[in-house]
Every structure is written in structure tokens, then in C-alpha cells.
Symmetry: C2
DNA sequence: TTTGACATTGGAGTTAACTCCAAGCTTTAT
DNA sequence: ATAAAGCTTGGAGTTAACTCCAATGTCAAA
């Protein structure tokens, strides 16, 4: 079990952030020590890693809390509901991936167009490069 | 040329947002009409689309302004600098894509594990599904 | 045993990114 | 000619997500 400071350090977040997430129902401490200190286990560590990843790709804490609550079990009365929610999230993720693929393509064009290469610097900005990539993709 | 309201509607953002971006040096109006009204051209429209995309995948306005300012031209004295900045952004984008690929895999596992399919509902949450995907990827 | 690092709570302050408002000017429709 | 819709500015207000602070409690080391 980790104390809050240890977990915070492992994850490069502040202890305030961990307490904030607890207050906002994203992640409660696994348990409390006799002295009242929060204690976290490996599962909590993994959940935090998930939250950090999800934040990095543009999900809000509210959305993340939605993602965290997706569960399939036999007790679930609303499997269809869960399924449609999950499919909706999946299409969100697919959209994000497609947009990042555009960015990636443009940035690669830019890197290729830059000094190092033999080609002429025809693409003068990320925007024109992005247009180029959009054109390639839409073919 | 579009007036601010027209552009806002086309992009499903507010006029306030467009003025906010101007104030914060992300996107100035292409020109002003005689009466002082802002006017935007197709280029401005495309820049706004870029900003909206970039925001959706987790870039801050500050980072976006950095992305927008990436330009390769003959006048540039610091081509190496531009190149290294671009490569750094590229690796950021690659990280985001990898993380989204994990999400995608987990969500797909969940969808597959859900009622509809023949398989048993062995993955009880997105987190356990995510672990599974991580395991697959790290092979 | 006391100093220092760590923890607790409640609550105030900060930053980014809007969002709204008031007072006033412009243009279009009746 | 007047109302409605759209634009201008400056500035205040809001929300999310922290971030900091004060007062206090805990614990290991010198």
C-alpha cells in the first residue's frame, strides 16, 4: 500500500490532485490507516494511470468518470445501455485517432520538407501540410 | 468573406469564442469592413477547423498557437530549431495515438464481451480490458 | 523530546477558456 | 422611421481542474 505522497510521486502528480479526484468521485483511497492517512493499492495506481492517459487525449474528468463506470457483469440490468454507451465512446476515440493521424501526416511532411531532405520546401506551414494530407486521405 | 456570425455558425462556435481567439493571438480577422465589422476568408475558416481539431485531441490554446506558428520558409534563420520543435510535437502526437489505440482496443473488447456475442463476459470493466490490451501490445 | 517530514480538513485562490452583459453603432425589413 | 438583428468594445462572471494555505495531527530520527 502507498501513502498519498508516494503514489503522487510515482505518478508525477500532486497530493492535492489525488485529494481533488477523491472529492470528485474519480478515485477514492483504497483504505485508511489507523491514523487517518489514505492508503492506495496497485489497482488505484492503475486507475490513476488510466485517468492521466485519458486526460492527455482530451477527455474531461466527467467523461473519464463515465469511462471508469463502464462495467459488464451479470448483475447489470442494462447491458444494451452499456453497450451503446461504449460504442459511442468508441466512435469518439476513432474520431480522435483519425484527427491525430492527420496531424501526424502533416508534421511528417514538415519534417521531410525541412532542410535535411533533398525535396524543396514547398510546404510552408503546418496548415498547408495538413491540407495536403487531407487531400491524400480523402482520395 | 464571412462576417463573424456566419463563420461562428459554420463552425458551431460562438462569436465570443472567435473574438476571444483574436484577443489571444490565435486567429485575427482577415480584414475589417468599412463599418468596423470583422471579415473572415476561407483561410481563416480552415485555421479555425484546425484549432477545433487540435483542441479535441487535447492540445491547449497555447500549444495550438505553437503548432500554428510552425513554418518552413527560406527566410527562416532557424530551420534546425523548427525541425526539432516539429519532431517533438510529432512524438507527442505519436504518444497520443498509442494511448488512444489502447482505449480503442479495450472498448472493442468490451463491446465484444457484451451480451450480443457468444463469448462469456470475462472482462468486467474498461480497466481490466485495458490491462488485457496492454498485455497484448507489450508482447 | 523536539525537529522535520509527512498527513489531515476546510476553504480560498488561480488559470484557461470561455460566456455573458451593457452601451452603443449598422443594416435590413416593415 | 422605427424595430429587430447583427456588429463593436471593455469588462465582469463562470466552470473545470487544479493549487495553495492554515491549523492541526502523526511519526521517525537525532
Amino acid at each position: 500500500m502507498y501513502r498519498i505522497g508516494e503514489l503522487a510521486q510515482k505518478l508525477s502528480v500532486s497530493t492535492d490532485t489525488l485529494r481533488y479526484y477523491e472529492k470528485h468521485k474519480l478515485l477514492a483511497a483504497t483504505s485508511r490507516a489507523d491514523n487517518g492517512y489514505r492508503l492506495y493499492n496497485e489497482g488505484a495506481l492503475r486507475i490513476m494511470q488510466f485517468i492521466i492517459r485519458a486526460k492527455a487525449v482530451g477527455f474531461s474528468l466527467k467523461e473519464i468518470s463515465g469511462l471508469l463506470s463502464i462495467k459488464i457483469d451479470k448483475a447489470s440490468h442494462s447491458c444494451a445501455e452499456v453497450k451503446s454507451f461504449t460504442e459511442q465512446k468508441l466512435s469518439q476515440v476513432n474520431n480522435k485517432i483519425a484527427e491525430l493521424a492527420c496531424f501526424k501526416g502533416s508534421l511528417e511532411l514538415l519534417v521531410a520538407a525541412c532542410c535535411g531532405g533533398e525535396e524543396e520546401a514547398t510546404h510552408c506551414s503546418i496548415l498547408s501540410a495538413l491540407e495536403n494530407v487531407d487531400a491524400i486521405i480523402s482520395k
